[in-house]
């Protein structure tokens, strides 16, 4: 029986199933057309088809493969496992991964939070390997891993990372910076421009005299001086000192702020930076009272100076001049006459 079945199979090239059927001699099947098999199911595109979430598991597999390859590459380069001191030197990751909704759209399939989290975990792991490769200088590996990760990053990554950071101060065609400073209820708009150093008249005069002297010397023989002195006999050239002019609401600083403390507060950024006389200031300030306005102008000037002279920014930062003072007037509370003051306590 087995032999016959096997002969029949080879002859007819059909699959026979081990079902209980009656025996049919081959001769009677001569006029019978071979029945086509049932339409074969199409081979699924993804090997993960039968998970029911093929798109998702494809991504997971891809990432896990990438992690595997990257890990082995780093191990070959002896970059893994890293000692603790080396691990601390790697910069922290600034990543902005695609959101759950974005990933849902990308995969075209519903996504639960726990699955999203798992994917994020793999992305973070891969990103850490990329950073190791980046710091180690393995550019090619780092670039390839970055290429893999780029698919999962948000488009507005730069914008998101730049949130909370100060916009860089821009200069106009005259070299003026425009910054804003605020304190309590005051707001100041500050324009700072570098002082134009005047052409020293002494340079011009000396150049003309030297040319005249040269013309005279052509006629007269040059005398070699016999007396030598350690210091040159010519007098020191006078230094032109430029001064900082500060105009606030189109009035000079001394007229707008009569109190010396306010004046000192406005000039303090220049003093700490050591740039008094290097820049002129024009400010428009509104709101609040005298000390609030002077604090606002001071902050505006500090921001402007750090834009004009970036090397000065750490000094101003340490002097707490770059900080917008967050103290504001505390609100009055119910049951109290003022913010903190309480009514007289009565025993009964």
């Amino acid at each position: 029986m087995n032999v016959a079945r096997s002969v029949a199979r080879t002859a007819l090239r059909t699959r026979t199933y081990s079902t209980a059927t009656t025996y049919v001699p081959p001769a009677s099947l001569e006029n019978v057309l071979p029945r086509r098999r049932v339409q074969l199911k199409p081979i699924p595109e993804s090997p993960n088809f039968y998970t029911g979430r093929a798109a998702y598991y494809d991504q997971i597999n891809g990432l896990e493969t990438a992690i595997q390859h990257t890990r082995s590459a780093l191990q070959k380069l002896q970059l893994l496992p890293l000692p603790s001191f080396a691990r601390h030197s790697i910069p922290p990751g600034h990543h902005v991964w695609i959101t759950k909704d974005g990933l849902t759209e990308m995969l075209n399939a519903p996504l639960t939070t726990s699955r999203y989290r798992r994917l994020l975990g793999l992305l973070n792991q891969l990103d850490s390997y990329r950073r190791i490769a980046d710091v180690a200088g393995v550019g090619m590996l780092a670039d390839r891993v970055a290429g893999v990760l780029e698919v999962f990053e948000r488009e507005n990554k730069e914008a998101v990372l730049a949130r909370g950071k100060r916009k860089p101060v821009e200069f106009d065609e005259h070299g003026r910076s425009y910054t804003v400073g605020r304190r309590k209820e005051s707001a100041a708009r500050v324009w700072v421009i570098p002082v134009q150093k005047p052409e020293t008249s002494t340079d011009v005069s000396t150049s003309s005299t030297t040319s005249q002297k040269a013309a005279a010397e052509d006629v007269l023989p040059q005398l070699t001086p016999t007396i030598t002195s350690a210091m040159s006999d010519s007098p020191l050239k006078p230094i032109t000192v430029t001064t900082t002019n500060i105009l606030i609401n189109n009035t000079p600083l001394s007229q707008y702020f009569p109190i010396p403390a306010d004046r000192e507060r406005v000039v303090r950024p220049f003093k700490i930076a050591g740039l008094v006389g290097a820049y002129n200031v024009f400010a428009l300030v509104r709101g609040g009272g005298t000390s609030g306005q002077s604090g606002a102008v001071s902050l505006g000037i500090a921001k402007a100076l750090s834009a004009h002279a970036p090397e000065v920014e750490p000094l101003l930062r340490r002097a707490k001049l770059m900080r917008r003072d967050p103290r504001m007037v505390e609100r009055k509370k119910t049951g109290r006459p003022k913010a903190r003051k309480a009514y007289t306590w009565v025993k009964r």
Binding site: T243, N245, S254, P258, P260, A261
Partner: protein
């Protein structure tokens, strides 16, 4: 506080100003004491049986007490200040070039110079405006910085010495604290040392704020100010004694008490006014006439606070109407010379605006005559006094720059630094003591804070700063 200083020349000598020790306990260095306004004794009241008020109470319980007026700042004499905190061993007297006519050239611009304090010095005799008093008391010597406007003012004086005073009538104007009073003082000192006859009124406000006695004179139909006239004559005499001796009067003066014929030497003329206080206003008026006629010496009439003479005065007539300045004898004289109605044959009239007293601010008529923007916007519907406008006619504006140049400010800074007056820029020396080492950063920051204004630079900047670095 009286406007004029009583200088008891018997008590004070020139040494008092040049020595370091201020050994005169009760009289200040410049010889300023209250003059004729002596302290009055308050009569003790009888006890009444009625309302007692604060009488039984302890002085501390009495409640609010009016603060005692201390007057202008007075320095302690040096022998009373012995604590080591005041560094008695570190006292310094400034060594500066003297403010003299030969030294005042354009090369001297930006240099600090000390005023020569001789016996008959104009500063001593006439006194100086109040803020200058304090400055000269705090400094070890009365001195000033020569600015470019000083040289300009002096050149103007030189040009005016040959012309009538009608051609040179200036008023120094500028923002508060820019150096108008100092400039006027420098001009006065220059004239006094250049053989001019100088009449300097440092505080014209005292003529119009009803602080000095006034009486109505029916002959001239003006209100005379005998005490003020007397003081002016006395000081004028002490400063210009040598010049007056050689001049003789061309007209005669007859008063109730005395008569002075033609040909009297002018020094006797003035002495006559000093011997009888009631005659002082008449003598002063006649003296001004004599000075206008003579051509031997040019005459400088310098008035600080001149804008006070163009405002309604604080005096009242019997009907309680405010008197105008031209109704008072001495302001009338000044106004007539300032307007050119009377003029010296040779000389000039210099005035300086002052912004200290807000009761006597720059009036509209004067600001229009000078061509400077008025304090309040004034259109054609704002009333202007025709008389005051007439008295302001022909006055020229002499603007004093609001900002010191860097060189001038540097000289001023060095002046105060050398006088050991600055407390900023402290560094710890080798002995562990804090020493003040003012540096250029202090100079630059204070100059910037003051926007170049001299008073703000020195008083609000250098001397009032709370920062020690």
């Amino acid at each position: 506080m009286s406007a004029t200083f009583v200088l008891r020349s018997s008590r004070l000598s020139a040494e008092a100003f040049t020595s370091t020790s201020r050994s005169l306990p009760s009289v200040s260095r410049l010889g300023q004491t209250r003059g004729y306004a002596q302290k009055k004794k308050v009569a003790v009241k009888q006890h009444s049986s009625g309302f007692k008020g604060n009488k039984g109470k302890d002085p501390k319980e009495k409640g609010f007490k009016k603060e005692k007026k201390h007057g202008t700042f007075l320095t302690l004499p040096a022998n009373q200040v012995t604590n080591t905190l005041f560094k008695p061993d570190n006292r310094v007297v400034l060594d500066l070039p003297t403010y003299s006519t030969e030294a005042l050239t354009s090369a001297a611009v930006g240099k600090a110079m000390a005023f020569p304090m001789s016996e008959n010095e104009a500063i001593r005799a006439y006194g100086v405006p109040k803020n200058l008093v304090v400055e000269f008391r705090v400094l070890s010597k009365p001195c000033s910085v020569v600015r470019d406007v000083t040289v300009t003012a002096i050149d103007t004086l030189d040009e005016a010495s040959s012309k009538s005073s009608r051609d040179t009538r200036l008023v120094m104007t500028g923002p508060s604290g820019c150096g108008k009073s100092f400039l006027l003082l420098q001009a006065v000192e220059y004239a006094a040392h250049n053989k001019w006859i100088v009449m300097y009124i440092p505080r014209a406000i005292k003529m119009v704020d009803s602080s000095t006695a006034y009486t109505y004179d029916s002959r001239t139909r003006t209100y005379l100010q005998p005490n003020f006239s007397y003081e002016i004559l006395r000081r004028f005499f002490s400063v210009n004694q040598s010049a007056l001796q050689h001049m003789k009067s061309r007209g005669e003066l007859v008063t109730e008490l005395q008569s002075l014929p033609e040909g009297t030497p002018l020094s006797n003329f003035v002495q006559a006014g000093l011997s009888y206080k009631e005659d002082a206003p008449a003598v002063l008026s006649a003296l001004m006439d004599e000075l206008s006629r003579q051509t031997t010496h040019p005459v400088l009439l310098a008035v600080d606070d001149i804008q006070a003479l163009y405002n309604y005065t604080a005096y009242r007539d019997p009907h309680y109407r405010a008197l105008m300045p031209q109704h008072l004898s001495i302001p009338r004289i000044v106004l007539e010379y300032a307007s050119g109605k009377r003029a010296f044959a040779r000389g000039a009239v210099f005035g300086a605006e002052s912004t200290s007293n807000t009761a006597f601010q720059m009036p509209l008529e004067l600001s229009e005559a000078l061509g400077i923007p008025p304090l309040r916007p004034a259109g054609p519907y704002v009333a202007r006094s025709k008389e005051l406008a007439e008295y302001a006619q022909g006055l020229r504006n002499f603007p004093v720059p609001a900002q010191l140049s860097v060189d001038e400010a540097a000289s001023l800074f060095e002046l105060w630094m050398k006088d050991n007056a600055l407390h900023s820029g402290e560094v710890r020396g080798t002995d562990g003591e804090l020493q003040s080492r003012p540096n250029d950063e202090l100079f630059m920051t204070k100059y910037c804070e003051a926007s170049g204004n001299p008073r703000a630079f020195v008083w609000k900047g250098l001397l009032s700063t709370m920062s020690s670095y």
